[in-house]
Amino acid sequence: MNQFFRRLRYLLNRRRFDQELADDMEFHGEMAARAGSANLGNTLRLREEAREAWGWVWLDRLSQDLRYAARMLRKSPGFTVTAVLMLAIGIGVNVAAFGFFDLIFLRPLRVRDPATLLRFHRRAPREGYAFSMPYPEMAFFREHSRTLSAVLALNPTKLVVEGEEKQLKTSFVTANFFTELGATAKLGRLLDPARDEAAGAEPVVVLNPAFWQRHFGADPSVIGKTIHLNGRPATVIGVAASEFSGLNLDDPALWLPINQEPYFAKGSHLLTDFSGDGGGVRMWGRLRPGLSPTAAEQELRSLAAELRKQYPTGVWENESLPSDPGGYAKSLIIGDRSGSGSEGRRDLYPVFAMLATLSLLILAVACGNLGSLLLARGVAREREIVIRIAIGAGRGRLIRQLFTESLVLALLGCTAGLAVGYLVLRSLMVFTEIPAWLNPSPDWRVMVFAIGMGFAAAILFGLTPALHAARRRHRASVARQFLVGAQVAASCVLLIVAGLLGRALTHAMSTNPGFEYQQVISIDPGLARHGYSPARAQAYLDTLQSRLRGLPGVESVSLAFSPPLGNRSEGVGLTVDGRALNVQINRVDPQFFQTMKIPLLRGRNLMRGDPHAIVISESLARGAWPGQDPLGKKFLGEDYTVVGIAGSARLVKLQDSDSVEVYFLIGTADLPSTSVLVKTSASPEDLARSVASTTEAVDPGTFPEVQLLKTGFRRKLRGAEASALTVSLLGVIAHLLACLGIVGVVAYAVSQRTKEIGIRMALGAQPGHVLSLVLRQFSGPVVAGLLAGVAGAAALSGLLRGELYGISNLDPITYLAAIAIFIFTVAVAALLPARRALRVDPLRALRYE
């Protein structure tokens, strides 16, 4: 039995060992008394010293400290509640922010074996990258891959569902989708590769539980019923379980087997078309056990090269298929993006960095308050501490005791913070349209994070006051001033950022974005989905355009490959003279500028038959050729010449002031995927109906989607509204906390100096003098904090450049307004308690002595 086990045995039989020791010593005492030397020390203390040999004393002391801390906190419930509330807010906000990050980046999706799931995309030196690929290419990989045990594919689309006014989001999936992801059915059955992918299989549909609830009122007899989609009958076979995450972030209402896609979209070439014009598929692979993602990538690369021999136009030259971990929500955010150049996938990081900084600032403010609270309490407890030192408590022991109290507070704060964080996240998720399967309840990472936060807060803000109290030194006022400064700085940053977001929002709503959106209707006829060739699309669009022009109230009609405010975007990132330009590409016809009311500032318009002429926005001209005449310059390769400059209009990235535009003439090959824009002088709501019926009449087999640009504009702003609201809320909370903190420290300073004030007043000090006496010590930290806060906000808001709808992140109005609000509220917070100093009765103050 070695030392460790003896130690453990002692711990387990502590009572018995201690009793034996006590017996020994008692016997010793008896014998000594007999021998006449009754020299008994403090046996309790002797026993404790003897016990120390076993190394468990810390445990006894800890439990002693904990009991004592609990008693102390119970005794002053006002202090405890305030402190826990501060921590709960500070930690809660951080838990919510981290919880969100966790949901998107860290927590695996609730599918079977998420670690072996890979999401593939295409990349080639010339074509760039694409996150969707042609179905036949995916099918080739599925058939030949040896590194992947299964290949899943998903094609997101919209279908007309009987009884629903709008087209609904649906997903066509390979029949192995549910089995591979380990999904279970709430009702009926899910897709079965053997039955639903066989030749001549019946068209079937699996319902999303939310859709089942909404559309069928959760009717269990829905299984086996027929539902018409795009006018075609299909049989409902089951409802997926509510916790099934699927592989879309926008929850589809229905899942259908992908081999039935042509049945619902008449004329669709999805399953055979290599061009991907009709929308390709998103592809996931299930890695075989023991293999690395690199092995799969290498295999797919050589398979792609092989396939290219058969279909040189379909597969890209030197095409590679990089993979991303597919088992996380972040892999679902990517969607179908494609583009040339590098993949700008870091879009989300600045937002998270911003969120993290803001919530840490809140924690800083909360901790600042907690710190002042503990400092004040430490001073108030001086008597108690003096007594404890007098009866023999060592300094280390005392610090440990005070620190234990902070830890207990931190633990309470963590628990409350977890609850607050969960509630915040939960309500945010109800507010935004995040799918229900993203479960915001904290997992172990969030728990560890919350505990870490709580303990960091306790150490930072519990230890200093504990040290001060134990040393009985009055450095407290310096610490208090520092805390005030830090709080002021943090809340100032939050106020300014909130102000910027709010102002960006009002700016976006009240000013002209550079193009007409109130009076424009966009029509997506979805020709590619129905297998239209470019020639047929040309004929269709000519007919449609001439019929639309015949409608009363229609002013202008044009074509655009990426309709404004829509979800499709083509972009390329450029750096000119170290400045990042986010170039948004659009392909349009010459009527586009007239329809969207975008002025042509210089040069000429695009012209049919001249595909090498391009029009650029004024912002691009300024960014790419500052101080030069851009007309006649080559852009994006030698083929294209700038012939005209149009007004700046951020058609796609409304919020990003770095986004600039270039317009190409729409080519014949683009026509099957193009949208039609209609500008009307009448009410667009009224016209939308006749536009829809006119479009449907051109080819009754298609299912065009008609939308008002106004609606798209509002949808884009809803995100900005949510973030402005969130940050404003954070700002208000932080500022309120900071003001409360100032009220607290000033009130404390007044109560500490009551006697001094009394003497000064007795000697004839004026009220102004008394006030300045109390407040002087805080004016320095407040001004320093304010300056630091403004500087911090200026630096931090750089991250927001892309989200401010054209407002500068150094917008002077916002800064001045925020500073004014700030100074006013801080002044009120300081003066309210300071007035008490004026009411000090000199006689009473002196009589205390």
Binding site: M1, N2, Q3, R6, R7, Y10, E20, L21, D23, D24, M25, F27, H28, G29, E30, M31, A32, R34, G41, L46, R47, E49, A50, R51, E52, A53, W54
Partner: protein, 108 residues
């Protein structure tokens, strides 16, 4: 009676040494050291029991129940094999150091 303090290392050595001839209880250990040192060394309770606990932890002695001369049930401490080995080692160490010190004191 003069009380001479001793370093704790020496106390451990003395305890082990007096236990070599057989198990003793705490008071008897103190007494034995007191008597054998011609009443020069006096072992305080405050030093004896912590030292005994340390020795127990090291596994050099074990405790067992026995009956004292006053007919009381008390714990007797008995040297273990490891304790015996430790004692030998410490004795030879002590001898060497003692001789070294002596020779310095004689010649210096």
């Amino acid at each position: 009676m003069p009380k001479t303090e001793m370093p704790s290392g020496a106390l451990v050595l003395l305890i082990l040494r007096v236990l070599r001839s057989g198990a003793l209880h705490g008071y008897a250990i103190a007494q034995r050291i007191h008597v054998l040192s011609s009443e020069v060394l006096h072992v305080e309770e405050g030093a004896l029991y912590p030292a005994l606990q340390r020795i127990l932890l090291k596994g050099w002695v074990t405790s067992e129940w026995g009956i004292s001369e006053t007919n009381r049930k008390v714990r007797f401490y008995r040297l273990t094999r490891a304790g015996r080995k430790q004692l030998e080692a410490e004795l030879s160490d002590y001898g060497r150091v003692h001789e070294a010190i002596q020779s310095v004191l004689r010649t210096a």
